[in-house]
Symmetry: C2
Subunit: 453 residues, 2 copies
């Protein structure tokens, strides 16, 4: 399936001159971003689009590895056949209006064309592919509306195009690098299991994020989940769990959302990291650039007592250990802590803590044999805290000896610092409970890995 | 207690020339913001601070209604006595180092001074008060680090200073107007019940947010909660729920966090809107500028199918009704919807929806007799969506006929629109499940109000 992600010659069929039309946006995006292969616009109405020669049909294009189709549904089967004649191997069908709209006859015609042309099809009714490495990108959201993420080692599989793109969009915002994105829509040919299996073997992918409503073949899917998750973590969000939501899923991608209980069972068996919401998904994803913890002993540092209390509450709910500090560690802390600060865990450095106090406390917790993971709360609004605190935190997180999550609550000022931290690869959250839940997932995955060994 | 919030003469004791010291920040903030009364710096070391005459002791100040004390703990009792002699009625003691640090003897001396001086004391070990109306503000976070929220009708009570300030800081960021903020710390004199009761009667306060770890008198507190919540909604976050978190709460504000089960029971009896996390608290707070719903029939609109499915999932989990559309409403929708859009609830306007399609759909749902509340999902990244969609959404929310929540997922582009919506008072969320949970809380409170009537 490598050629689907690394085509040399791409034809985009249905490129209008109207910049708000899907085909135009796809073509324009690839031109602007500098797709590393050749991209050809196809539309019988025009001789050129954006200064590029426009071809009347896909058969007139010099060469085609992948055809991207964004025309009304009725025309799609014929275009597939034409592409087949050109030796094209993959079709990405953006167009909707097949089974999900009740058009079964058209769906049959489409499938017949796909089969007879020996083409593998992604879609229909999908957003297709984004590969940040070669900038092959069929996401029809304009670049100014959706800034593309930088290259990274997280890949995303999404049954829903819109939801998938809001995941990549937010990833770019949070500074999370993305490798490949695949929106597969109705999955009439290439399905979730094919893609999952490919990403499992993909050497450019370390972490997989998956949004799913339904699957074609539950058994094969469950087996693949298990096999892939042993090699790299899968963070999965299952939607269309019940009742009206299932119905909504049916009109969405044309397939009935599976029984949630069987999904839940499959996730559990495979040790999949299930996210229950979009927020959870990002919270979990954010932590996965950190090393896996050796155990579940948590250290908590704060300059706001309430944040410490809330951190401890959630840690207890998540069954992490708020370990007591050893005599040695307490002595190390007493060397520099003022008298009114108690050397304990959670460690409340109190409101007048300065950068030096934080830095030394971080050192003690990072070096402590008893602490497996670290939560650092910072009220950057405190008068005694300056931007110099960023350095020791980034260094501790880059150190990769134990996982660190940082909580920076507040408004604009807090956001400035939290975004610098995220951009430097430090998992950063706006509230302690989110960070703690993420650390718990990292610990869960460390158990999957230990089982494997 | 009105004079505590509206003093005419305030003395700040312990104003250093060092801009990173608490006393300095408090004085400088009030000068810069233009506190509507008189504020006098007190410190025997200086003749002037920031161009203002500095007084050697509180007894030398022309007049004092409220004394704000930010000096080492040992000096506090004497300053209270001096203020008492000047006829001062309230003391706000910022300084920590009393019971929470194990200094019981000093605490006794403090309480004796308070009693004998007939002064009412807020604190010690607190951040004090912020009143956005007259800009009386003892929050010792510099203005550039913590932008103050605009005046509004939400007031905040917080046992934790740091956590409380991160609530006001984020409120400013989200465009939520705040009236009064009170951080009460160790609550040796004025306690949570006194403040709650005052805000219950306060004509400037419509919604109360409360962060709490422990209470002094559980029975009185529970009664006051019930009484106040009948008049205006209370959104409460209880921390220090168990084990180590309780211990952390003890070193924080010096009192043992109460049994969570009794809190839970009190909250339930009073119909309090309990938030389980900082994120939940904001999600709930955001919705409370909307009218209360007449029932729990929810309408969902989206241009991304996955968002519709996720919205429906959460609505089902929250026991809201995703009501079927009436024949009349369906006909109204069919008048303008393209053939490939199904007129149902959730209503997926699909990826090519433009502003006009949204606007007309909004009208149908706003006018529908069967829909009590409305969730609008928008992928602003879609090529056919423009900023003109902001107008009909803001108008629908200002209409106040039924509550609306808007979901705008994504990155920078999405954030621009969501922040314009929030600043215009439209409750806006980054994920459907957050919006749905907030709508559920609004419905819960509508039941409290109906019971009252």
């Amino acid at each position: 399936m490598k050629e689907l992600f690394y085509p040399k010659h791409v034809a985009v069929v249905g490129v209008s001159k109207n910049p708000s039309k899907v085909g135009h946006v796809i073509f324009a995006n690839m031109v602007k971003m500098g797709f590393s292969g050749h991209v050809y616009p196809v539309n019988p109405k025009y001789k050129e689009v954006l200064g590029h020669k426009c071809y009347p049909s896909v058969e007139d294009v010099p060469k085609v590895d992948v055809v991207v189709i964004a025309v009304p549904a009725g025309f799609v089967p014929d275009i597939i056949r034409q592409a087949g004649k050109k030796g094209c191997k993959y079709a990405i069908v953006i167009s909707g209006g097949f089974g999900e709209a009740g058009n079964e006859e058209l769906t049959e015609r489409l499938m017949k064309a796909v089969k007879e042309s020996r083409i593998r099809m992604l879609g229909p009714n999908c957003i297709g592919i984004m590969n940040t490495k070669n900038r092959f990108d069929t996401v029809f959201f304009p670049l100014h509306k959706m800034i593309r993420p930088s290259y990274g080692r997280v890949s995303i599989i999404s049954q829903s195009g819109g939801l998938g793109t809001s995941i990549i969009d937010k990833s770019a915002y949070l500074g999370i690098g993305i490798g490949k994105f695949i929106s597969y829509g109705n999955a009439y040919d290439i399905d979730e299991t094919d893609i999952l299996s490919y990403l499992g073997k993909d050497e450019e992918t370390d972490v997989i994020v998956m949004y799913i409503e339904s699957v074609k073949n539950g058994k094969k899917f469950a087996e693949t989940l298990k096999e892939v998750n042993r090699k790299k973590p899968i963070i999965a969000l299952k939607a269309g769990k019940e009742g009206k939501a299932k119905e909504a899923a049916k009109t969405h991608t044309g397939s009935l959302a599976g029984d949630y209980l069987s999904f839940k069972a499959a996730f559990k068996t495979a040790g999949i990291l299930e996210a229950n919401s979009l927020s959870d998904l990002f919270d979990y994803l954010t932590i996965f650039n950190q090393p896996l913890p050796k155990g579940k002993n948590l250290g908590i540092i704060t300059n706001g007592g309430g944040l410490g209390v809330m951190s401890a509450d959630e840690a207890i709910r998540q069954h992490l250990n708020i370990v007591d500090l050893s005599k040695e560690d307490k002595e190390l802390l007493e060397e520099f802590l003022p008298e009114y600060v108690t050397p304990s865990n959670p460690l409340d450095l109190v409101a007048d803590a300065d950068v030096e106090r934080y830095k030394k406390a971080l050192d003690v917790f990072m070096n402590s044999k008893d602490i497996d993971m670290l939560l650092v709360n910072v009220l950057f609004q405190a008068p005694s805290i300056s931007e110099e605190l960023l350095n020791p935190i980034v260094r501790a997180a880059m150190d990769k000896r134990k996982p660190i999550a940082v909580v920076v609550p507040g408004g604009k000022w807090a956001e400035a610092f939290s975004s610098i931290l995220s951009m430097n690869g430090v998992p950063t959250y706006d509230a302690p409970e989110r960070a703690i839940r993420a650390l718990r997932k990292l610990y869960d995955y460390s158990k999957v890995v230990r089982q494997r060994e």
